[in-house]
Symmetry: C2
């Protein structure tokens, strides 16, 4: 009995992942607002009733995509970082995971970056909690690399600079091109850490 | 007579700029594909015939927005840079102009970044020529800052890293918040130049 329940859960999770993947592809092609549940049902080769069995609305699909993507980024991240002493290794690890997740789940990543602001408040709250947790982890590692106290505002700017470099790759980066994800992570980590080690901040106040 | 023609040109340019601005706002709110010429006509308080007097299609409006924005970034850029000896001053100048243009023309900037890939080939070709020119100018300045030969691929990655930091600001930056555009340009220039001065590249081949 327990086994059967586990199998059902497993099947449900797989179906939801499939619908999420198909929907993310459509959201990227047509935009979230212009994609209908009908479009998703056709592309997923499921009846509309079948889709509603898993998701009660299009918002719920978007929520599923965005939170699953954040969960992927966060998965065991803190545990892994705790095993490392060197903040540079931590940064390289985070940047590699970030780029690797993007290259493996490009549609989900783009949907999360571009459409998650359309989530209704009850969903948005939970999504943003995950986003903030990730942001906080990255900020703490960067603060370690800087190695001396700088203002919160400066640290905030630095953190968004790194996110900018990593997230902007969807505009230009081809994982099978002249630089692979590991090399790209290496370059970003190398240059950015050189830039912030011992950075004393500008004249800006907190 | 000449005076009257100049006045007409002036009026036409102003009307086109107004339509462009209104359309860019709508493209950001609703997306380019879902915005109709009717929507633009209502928002611009012009009859549809009035709009078609200036633009023969929605694509032409998008083309106008994207190329005007690139023209703004490129305007006298090379002349100004030629006056400077120090590559760091050049970089700071470019980053400040980039951020300043973004904060003053946010809708146009976002439309250019997000929608210009939808331009039909005949328009896209001209737009991309401008984009490439800008990219080339930035790449040359960064190459000067690095100060020693590195591979083309590395230089390309470095250039896109800078564009990433600067363009990502639309996700988080509030010009009237705790850091103004001049301070933000200062921080980006300071950290990024520290990162790339004397950078010898990773093991990656060209």
């Amino acid at each position: 009995m327990e086994n059967r329940l586990r199998q059902m859960d497993q099947r449900k999770a797989e179906k939801m992942a499939t619908v999420g993947r198909v929907a993310a592809t459509l959201f990227n092609q047509k935009g979230y607002l212009e994609t209908s549940m009908d479009d998703i049902s056709v592309a997923a080769q499921l009846s509309k009733g079948g889709i509603y069995h898993y998701f009660s609305s299009k918002h719920e699909i978007l929520y599923f995509i965005a939170t699953s993507y954040m969960d992927l980024l966060l998965k065991e991240l803190e545990q892994e970082l705790r095993k490392m002493d060197d903040p540079l290794s931590k940064m390289k690890f985070i940047v590699f995971r970030h780029i690797d997740a993007y290259t493996r789940y490009t549609s989900e990543a783009k949907t999360t970056l571009h459409e998650s602001h359309l989530l209704p408040p009850e969903f948005s709250k939970i999504y943003l909690r995950k986003e903030k947790k990730y942001y906080r982890i990255v900020l703490d590692v960067l603060s370690e690399i800087v190695g001396q106290p700088i203002s919160k505002s400066q640290l905030r700017v630095i953190t968004f600079m790194l996110f900018g470099m990593c997230n902007w790759i969807y505009h230009w980066y081809k994982p099978k091109g002249y630089v692979n994800p590991a090399e790209l992570s290496e370059i970003i980590t190398c240059i950015f850490s050189r830039g912030i080690i011992g950075y004393r901040g500008s004249k800006m106040n907190d």
